[in-house]
Amino acid sequence: MANFDGQLEQTEQRFSRLCRAYGRSAVIPEASVNFSANMWEAIEARRSSRLFGMVAKLVTTSALAATILFGTLPTSKAPAVEPEYLTLYIDHSQAPVQTEIFSSILDAEDSK
């Protein structure tokens, strides 16, 4: 058991040494001359897309709010007005033709 523990400890120590060696061996690149400029470009690009996103969100929210508002508003019904007709067209067409006026004109012509 003691041997096993000792072996485990050795493995752990070796692993720790490997980690430290890796820390020293890691290749850490220098920032390129354009790093700062590229970063500001990326910031500007993201700022624009965020602004566009905000506007789009605002428009969508407003449209949604308007839809909900108009949907829930009580619809006001105008009172139904019954049309008042004195006579219907059919009644009028079926009525006897008023011939009195024509008779009087014809009589006047005859007397000439």
């Binding site: 040494r17 490997l18 220098e30 920032a31 590229n38």
Partner: protein
């Protein structure tokens, strides 16, 4: 902190010159941390750029300037984690391929010229890459910060925003998992010398 509190507050108010000062002060450290986590020098700049862009847009949310550094490292860890998760990093080393590398490592004292040293360093990087590919990205990042960068428990507590006991448990488990892989890779016979103090 590497910067004045006043500089940080100016940057929070949208002063781009102050933000540039933060960038200059922390760039090297952030590059180092990212490089050790992702082990891909060619992608370090992209990840670092993402860290600083995220910093720019979230700086106003920082309430207490005292926690700026842990907070910046949290952003760094998150950006590195996103990179690892996207799968840009590939560790396609079957364990058997390490036999030659192991020999190199074991033979660290044999070569003293630059070429030998470069090969030894590359072997160490490749072995670590393989080891870290055997555990989760969370374990990889935690172990890199603790074992490779040598960050204290207190620093890690601040970065991860967890209590000491929870952190110790996470570290212990992560270490156990990577040690299992280390043994599988032949870590018992591994001898890493070449300037490792106390080895």
């Amino acid at each position: 902190m590497l910067i004045e509190r006043e500089t940080l507050e100016k940057a929070q108010r949208g002063d781009d010159a102050a933000f540039n000062l933060i960038l200059q002060a922390y760039r090297k450290r952030i590059f180092g941390t990212i490089a050790r986590i992702i082990n891909r020098p060619q992608d370090v700049e992209d990840v670092a750029q993402e860290v600083f862009v995220r910093l720019y847009f979230s700086l106003k949310q920082l309430r207490t300037p005292e926690v700026f550094e842990p907070w910046l490292y949290r952003l760094t860890i998150n950006a590195s984690y996103d990179y690892l998760r996207r799968g840009k990093r590939r560790a396609d080393y079957p364990v058997a391929d390490f036999s030659e590398e192991m020999m190199l490592l074991a033979d660290a004292d044999a070569g003293t010229d630059q070429y030998q040293e470069d090969r030894r360093r590359k072997a160490i990087r490749d072995l670590m890459e393989w080891l870290f590919s055997q555990v989760s990205d969370e374990d990889r990042i935690l172990l890199t910060l603790k074992e490779v960068e040598g960050r204290s428990l207190r620093e890690l507590q601040e970065i991860y925003d967890v209590n000491e006991n929870a952190l110790k448990v996470r570290l212990f488990r992560a270490r156990q998992r990577v040690l299992k892989a280390f043994e599988k890779a032949g870590g018992e016979g591994l001898d890493i010398r070449g300037g490792v103090s106390g080895a």
